[in-house]
């Protein structure tokens, strides 16, 4: 940084503008956190991840700067499981993997298992019953909308609320 502030310059400005009232900043810590989060986990990162389970996992993985291999190692699960979760329309998660992943990601075990159930394909064929996924609205785009981004963020927040049972 090129900066040369002389006493003369400062004296001149202090004579014109009293800076002993200085202060700026209209953001609270929460909005600062949201901005930081958005810069860390950018909306395009969540595009083309078909399931909400995959998006929630990817969100936290990006937030922490982990590669799929990092997360697999930390959670003690197979890296192929991580890749499947983030790429499959209907990712299946074994009870063991759900528990280990929940612990690694800071999620409630119960809630992650519940989400995993929601995104799995129905056991009995029922045309009106489809797993929860984003494929229809996010496929082919390079980003998710602001509303979708906020929805994923809210989902992550819900998953991260640990219950006493955990």
């Amino acid at each position: 940084m090129k900066l040369n502030i002389t006493r003369e310059w400062l004296a001149r400005w202090l004579a014109r503008a009293d800076d002993t009232t200085i202060g700026a900043g209209g953001s609270d810590l929460q909005s600062l956190k949201q901005d930081v989060e958005r810069r860390t986990v950018t909306p395009p990162v969540l595009a083309d991840i078909p399931s909400q389970l995959g998006q929630a996992v990817r969100f936290v993985r990006e937030q922490r700067g982990w590669s799929p291999e990092d997360l697999a190692r930390i959670a003690d699960v197979d890296v192929r499981d991580i890749i499947l979760i983030e790429t499959s329309d209907t990712p299946e998660l074994s009870p063991r993997a759900a528990v280990y992943l929940a612990d690694a990601l800071g999620f409630s075990r119960t809630r992650l298992q519940e989400l995993a159930r929601l995104v799995q394909p129905p056991r009995e064929a029922a045309p009106e019953s489809t797993p929860l996924r984003f494929a229809a609205i996010s496929s082919g785009t390079h980003s998710v909308s602001d509303d979708q981004y906020e929805a994923v963020r809210a989902l992550v927040a819900v998953l991260a609320e640990k219950e006493a049972a955990d």
Partner: protein, 203 residues
């Protein structure tokens, strides 16, 4: 921290100048020191004045915790936090955001600028807190540093900020353009330094 820059401050009591240090990038330790020294000073001042039956005005940024702000943003290059130090104490701090902000003076083209996310002086340097501030010049030095950052980024000195209410007069006096209260920022008034305004301020 980056290489320090020598900057002047004026001791209000005597009118003479002291050689302070501007740190162009501070760490959480510096921020924690600002929280500790500023809040302790304020609490002690309040207790002392109360003992004499006097009120102490609230410091507008009393609820800020600089260490938390640093902890949140330290991994992002777009956030830059600076500090002014003298006598072993933080005299002022400023957090800048160097991308994603654009001038509101032109609606036709996206003209980038540096946004001053937070700027504060130590409570003993604020006329709004103490009867006689200790050092003047902290705000002016930090504004110069913000302009220098904008110039380094080839933004030609353009800056924007939301003024704390007691500081509005200062920003107007140095030539920033006021665009009125911003409902998205607690109705704080929004100000911009144009490139010409910044040049005039640098002198």
């Amino acid at each position: 921290m980056s290489d320090p820059v020598a900057v002047p401050l004026r001791r209000v009591e005597t009118g003479d100048f002291v050689n302070a240090t501007l740190w162009p990038s501070v760490d959480e330790g510096f921020a924690a020191k600002a929280d500790d020294t500023w809040l302790t000073f304020l609490a002690a001042l309040r207790a002392e004045r109360l003992a004499r039956g006097l009120d102490t005005p609230a410091m507008e940024h009393e609820h800020w915790r600089w260490r938390e702000k640093l902890a949140e943003t330290k991994s992002l290059l777009a956030y830059l936090t600076m500090g002014v130090e003298y006598d072993g104490k933080p005299q002022g701090m400023m957090m800048l955001v160097t991308d994603g902000h654009f001038s509101r003076l032109s609606s036709k083209t996206a003209i980038p600028l540096v946004y001053v996310e937070f700027l504060a002086a130590a409570p003993w340097n604020l006329r709004t807190v103490v009867d006689r501030p200790k050092y003047a010049g902290v705000g002016s030095v930090l504004m110069r540093a913000a302009i220098a950052t904008s110039m380094d980024l080839e933004f030609k000195g353009r800056l924007a900020l939301h003024a704390l209410p007691q500081a509005e007069g200062y920003y107007e006096a140095i030539g920033m353009v006021g665009l009125g209260p911003d409902a998205k920022k607690h109705n704080l008034k929004y100000y911009e330094f144009t490139s010409d305004g910044a040049q005039a301020f640098i002198g």
